[in-house]
């Protein structure tokens, strides 16, 4: 349902108000023009990896589950499920009132078809990695589907409703694709798409739930850049938008005509070491660098103060996070850093390459601050700007030098950590950390289905991150939701996907 | 005696350049009678063109000054005193001009027809049909074949000789009383020059127009002029009827000039030369301008400017050699002031 999610400013404790309708009188229906800067290359929920796609497809597609704005897995197309004792068999009971946008009723056949796409290597979906644990998917009856796993896999539920979670009619890919159309079960259906201009969605009348999908029409309007977005909001040409450039927060937070909210995000920024390269293969050096950096200053420079310094996990993971104050090496300590360097044999410092990506605006000021910080412990930072393409190429080929990185959008700690920090071949380990202890922890957490035990393991892992420092998490920029006063109940989701629009209403 | 149509008296023209004033013309006086051709000859830079532009008042106002005592009398009117609009009524109608380079002197982007028509419209106020007739007549007069076709052509489509004919047609289209021709044939080949000179002669007798013919070619002068004025460094050093000047030049410069050109009709072994070069108008010598190059120069020449000495038959020269030959010069005439 559409629960309310309080912005950062007034997060008191862990507010877990029950989900419910808004109290202010509203009318169903109405239209919203939602502004955004980037267009999605295609709409395919399985084949398109771009985050821009996920933002939009959550309005049109649904998975068996979904992860709500408090990072809890909630039922969606599956009304409920059971997990076997050994954690290897998941049995889902499907809702039987779900219809596709083409009018067909959703059945177990469709669910099996949709999730089996991940098991078909030749299909080539980028989501396959989240489902490697799945052995088979069977139809028990019309409304029951059984997933059998090779090994226990705690984040299966999150994966089912994550980035790639979508149920489409059986046989969709037999003669066509979903690049330019959308046949899902979501509350909105695609009416018209003019790439690089606008996408028009309308309320799906046969939608199964009345807790979502209040608007009659959503127009997703592409504007050239965030400046224009801001101008559009100020002049009332645009009703709501999600800004990624936190600088704008300062500019509009006091605007009386607007609702402006800051939310912690799932995205985080890190300084990733090339852990196999001298001198960064020495944990003492990495620790020294961590001690040498003033994360607060970096955060302020990069986000204009509209973000939060992080320890080892993005803040939106709320309950999973070990607070910065509880982690080692997080406060700046120039002397300590120098000592560590001396111990490691680098008393005179060295030159440290640091790669930044030209299209990420925050990286430059952050790099400049880090260069300034580290110059005090004798390290000269050589900043190198590269194009995203070059960055990706080197990164995925394990050739990248120390680099800034911005990633996230994962809705579960396993999804967040495993691929990145588990040694090869199970994980990606692009930082070439190759740490046994870390890998062991991640493996354990993966098969652990008990929440507390899982939490415990991830706590240890976060401490390991802070002492071993394969990567320095820097900060997480807040997402900024801006809307006209008449737009209400836009519930921001930490992923940055536009779940909020399924809840939004227009006040007359 | 015919009466003078143009009298130039004591013309002083000064250019104001960023590098200082250049006095290009220093006291030039001459006159042209009705139907007469006055040839002005002199080396490059002696002030021939400036003289003609001064007459037409075509020099830039802010950048040049003509001394107030100068007079240019055209049919008794002082051109220098006329207003801009009055002088414009004279230009092209009463006095017209042709120039050395007929290609650059015609507007390249207009047909020759348009350029001739323009004058006719401006000064003769004819209707369109009459203009066209008149234009064809004039072009025929200057010897252009199939003028109906030519009027629609652009200058670059004509040959050099033809262009000069067009210039002449344009100049004569309003039957001016005076034609100023500034080196009209210098840019042309000899055979074409001969054609143009013949044409000018012919038109002169047909239209009874007076001509101020500027050239540096002694041959052209000998062929065309009735009277000659020899210019040197901003002054007229000698003038008189053409035969006399060629037969018996008074001024050493004229003598030198005549002796220094190779002649088709003579077999000289060696040419006589005038040593040195024309002085820079910014730093003219004291005394006689020609003194530094003059084989007969005396001490006096180097310090005091010779007066213009007038001889019989309307001849005059400014040279100390002839101080005593003068027939009617007042003995106490001060140096530096010339006059007829």
């Amino acid at each position: 349902g559409c629960s309310s999610n309080k912005p950062v400013e007034n997060v008191s404790s862990n507010s877990s108000e029950p989900s419910g309708e808004a109290e202010t009188p509203t009318t169903n229906g109405g239209e919203i023009i939602f502004g955004t800067v980037t267009e999605t290359p295609s709409l395919d929920p399985f084949l398109e990896a771009a985050d821009e796609r996920s933002r939009r497809t959550v309005l049109m597609y649904e998975g068996l589950t979904w992860v709500d704005e408090k990072m809890q897995v909630q039922p969606r197309l599956a009304g409920k499920w059971e997990i076997s004792e050994d954690g290897k068999v998941y049995t889902f009971t499907l809702r039987d009132d779900v219809y596709f946008h083409n009018g067909a009723k959703m059945t177990a056949e469709d669910v099996k078809y949709s999730y089996e796409l991940f098991l078909d290597e030749s299909f080539g979906t980028g989501g396959a990695g989240d489902f490697t644990a799945v052995d088979s998917i069977e139809i028990v009856d019309d409304t029951t589907v059984k997933f059998t796993l090779k090994t226990p896999y705690a984040s299966l539920l999150a994966a089912l409703g994550g980035r790639y979670g979508a149920v489409v009619p059986k046989g969709t890919y037999d003669n066509g694709d979903l690049k330019n159309e959308a046949v899902g079960t979501g509350p909105f259906k695609l009416v018209k798409w003019t790439p690089n201009n606008s996408m028009v969605l309308e309320k799906f009348d046969q939608y199964w739930s009345d807790e979502r999908g209040f608007l009659d029409k959503i127009t997703i309007q592409i504007v050239p850049d965030e400046n224009s977005l801001l101008a559009g909001i100020r002049s009332g040409q645009i009703d709501a938008a999600l800004l990624t450039d936190s600088k704008f927060y300062t500019m509009i937070k006091d605007n009386p005509k607007l609702n402006v909210e800051r939310h912690p995000a799932l995205r985080w920024t890190t300084l990733d070491f090339a852990n196999n390269v001298e001198p960064f293969n020495d944990p003492r050096v990495r620790q020294a660098i961590l001690k040498g950096i003033d994360k607060e200053e970096v955060m302020i420079a990069a986000t204009d103060g509209v973000g939060s310094v992080i320890g080892a996990m993005p803040p939106a993971f709320s309950d999973w996070v070990v607070p910065v104050s509880g982690l080692e090496n997080q406060t700046r300590d120039v002397e300590g850093a120098k000592k560590l360097l001396a111990e490691a044999g680098y008393a005179d410092g060295f030159n440290m390459p640091l790669r930044i990506i030209s299209s990420f605006a925050w990286m430059r000021p952050a790099a400049e601050v880090i260069a300034s910080n580290l110059s005090e412990i004798g390290i000269t930072v050589d900043i190198e700007t590269v194009d995203l393409g070059v960055w990706i190429k080197d990164w995925s080929n394990y050739n990248s030098p120390n680099t800034f990185n911005e990633w996230g959008g994962f809705t579960d700690p396993d999804l967040l950590y495993y691929r990145h920090f588990r040694a090869k071949p199970e994980g990606g380990d692009w930082r070439r950390w190759n740490n046994e202890e870390g890998s062991k922890l991640l493996d354990q957490a993966r098969v652990e289905t008990q929440q507390e035990a899982r939490q415990e393991i991830y706590n240890s892992f976060q401490h390991l991150m802070a002492t071993e420092v394969p990567s320095i998490p820097l900060f997480s920029p807040d997402s900024i939701v801006v809307s006209q006063k008449h737009v209400i109940d836009y519930i921001h989701h930490p992923s940055g996907w536009w779940y909020g629009l399924t809840c939004a209403k227009v006040q007359k | 005696m015919t009466k003078p149509i143009l009298e130039v008296k004591d013309l002083y023209t000064i250019f104001h350049t960023p590098k200082g004033d250049v006095s290009a013309i220093e006291g030039v006086s001459f006159s042209i009678n009705e139907g007469e051709i006055l040839g002005v000859i002199g080396e490059s830079g002696s002030g021939k063109s400036v003289t003609s532009l001064s007459i037409m008042r075509l020099l830039k106002k802010g950048k040049t000054t003509i001394k107030p005592e100068s007079k240019i009398l055209f049919e008794g009117k002082d051109l220098l005193k006329l207003s801009d609009s009055e002088i414009r009524k004279i230009r092209g109608k009463e006095i017209s001009m042709i120039f050395q380079d007929p290609l650059t002197s015609l507007n390249p982007v207009y047909t020759i027809g348009k350029q001739i028509r323009e004058v006719l419209q401006l000064h003769r106020g004819l209707g369109p049909k009459e203009i066209d007739e008149e234009m064809i007549n004039i072009l025929k007069l200057v010897g252009i074949s199939s003028p109906e076709k030519r009027v629609n052509q652009y200058p670059h489509q004509l040959s050099g000789g033809m262009r000069q004919r067009v210039m002449i047609a344009m100049a004569l289209s309003c039957h001016p009383k005076l034609l100023i021709a500034d080196e009209p044939t210098t840019a042309l080949d000899v055979t074409i020059q001969a054609q143009i000179l013949e044409l000018i002669k012919e038109l002169r007798s047909k239209l009874n127009v007076s001509i101020l013919l500027i050239t540096h070619d002694m041959g052209v002068i000998a062929d065309m002029a009735d009277k000659v004025a020899v210019m040197y460094s901003g002054k007229i050093v000698e003038s008189g009827p053409v035969e006399e000047i060629f037969k018996d030049p008074k001024h050493p410069y004229t003598m030198g000039l005549l002796q220094s050109i190779p002649r088709l009709d003579l077999d000289e072994k060696r040419l006589n030369t005038i040593g040195g070069a024309i002085p820079n108008p910014k730093s003219r010598p004291l005394g006689c301008n020609f003194a530094p190059r003059c084989p007969h120069a005396m001490e006096k020449c180097k310090t005091v400017e010779p007066p213009l000495t007038t001889f019989a038959d309307g001849r005059s020269a400014s040279c100390w050699l002839h101080e005593s030959d003068s027939i009617n010069v007042s003995q106490n005439q001060t140096a530096g002031i010339g006059g007829i």
């Binding site: 450039d245 600088k247 300062t250 500019m251 003033d294 607060e296 200053e297 302020i300 420079a301 204009d304 930044i356 030209s358 299209s359 605006a361 430059r364 000021p365 790099a367 400049e368 601050v369 260069a371 300034s372 910080n373 110059s375 050589d382 900043i383 190198e384 700007t385 590269v386 194009d387 070059v390 | 960023p18 590098k19 820079n280 910014k282």
Partner: protein, 295 residues
């Protein structure tokens, strides 16, 4: 705008005493004097940045000094990460001018040499080189710069190369045009009749006389190069941080234009002044060398 036209002979009339003439010329060409004066100052900045207001270290960031408006302490204010802008602008002079001068030199040497050869020998060689240059020339200049900077990766050296490549056609054309005109002059024929070979004539005689419009092009080109560098910096393809060029400082401030306009505006004006000065010099030179000018 890029191409400079110069005409015919540069006769200078009589000449008596050296110094007054030289002085007179300068006084007459005020633009030249004013332009040179500013450029002189810029070069002083380049050579001795610390002599002026510039602090030694311009990379030191300080989150407590962010975006301070101009004051006595920080005459140009501070930027978004707390650095003194005036210092960065003065240090940036070195980078920006260095890039522009370097790029123009490179372009002049390459483009000029090609133009010289092409213009002097003519024929097929001229056709082939000309076609290639045409191709470069018809390329949208910023895209070309971006391409080259993209291929080589951003760094001072590569920005120089990128800008130089954009300018090669300009110098080629200027030089070629001038050579084609010069080689028809009789002194070339005279040299040939004395038995000098083509290479000698080309480099000793023709080059010497064709170089004038190229030098004017050089100053005007500098003005454009500064702008192009700024444009590349603006698109994030300039020098590597934390080093600063005028373009990159300007770029830093664009996002803060509304609340800290000084970050962009002041360096921008600095850049404009430099461009203006080079244009003044170019204009003055053109005037000085153009026989048509009525001065």
């Amino acid at each position: 705008m890029l191409e400079v036209e110069l005409n015919k002979s540069k006769r200078i009339e009589n000449k008596k005493s050296m110094i007054p003439n030289w002085l007179r010329t300068l006084i007459k060409h005020k633009t030249l004097v004013v332009g040179s004066f500013f450029i002189f100052i810029f070069f002083i900045f380049t050579l001795f940045p610390t002599l002026f207001f510039a602090k030694d270290i311009t990379i030191q960031t300080n989150s407590t000094l962010r975006m301070l408006a101009p004051s006595l302490e920080h005459p140009f204010g501070t930027d978004h990460i707390g650095r003194d802008i005036l210092s960065r602008v003065i240090w940036g002079t070195r980078v920006s001018l260095g890039i522009s001068v370097g790029a123009m030199m490179l372009a002049m040497i390459v483009g000029g040499t090609l133009g010289l050869i092409s213009g002097y020998f003519g024929g097929i060689l001229d056709n082939v080189i000309g076609r290639i240059i045409d191709v470069l020339y018809s390329f949208p200049s910023q895209i070309l710069g971006i391409f080259i900077a993209g291929i080589l990766g951003p760094s001072v050296k590569n920005v120089i190369i990128a800008i130089a490549i954009v300018f090669i056609p300009v110098f080629y054309r200027t030089m070629r045009g001038s050579v084609v005109k010069e080689k028809e002059r009789e002194y070339v024929e005279a040299a040939r009749s004395l038995g000098m070979n083509d290479t000698y004539i080309m480099f000793v005689h023709v080059l010497r006389n064709s170089i004038v419009p190229v030098t004017v092009q050089f100053t005007v080109g500098l003005a454009v190069a500064i702008q192009l560098e700024a444009a590349l910096g603006f698109l994030g393809l300039g020098v590597q941080p934390p080093a600063a060029s005028w373009g990159s400082i300007l770029n830093d401030g664009i996002d803060y234009l509304l609340f800290a306009p000084w970050i962009s505006i002041l360096p921008g004006l600095f850049m404009v002044l430099a461009v203006f000065s080079f244009n003044l010099i170019g204009d003055g030179l053109r005037d000085l060398l153009d026989p048509h000018s009525e001065k």
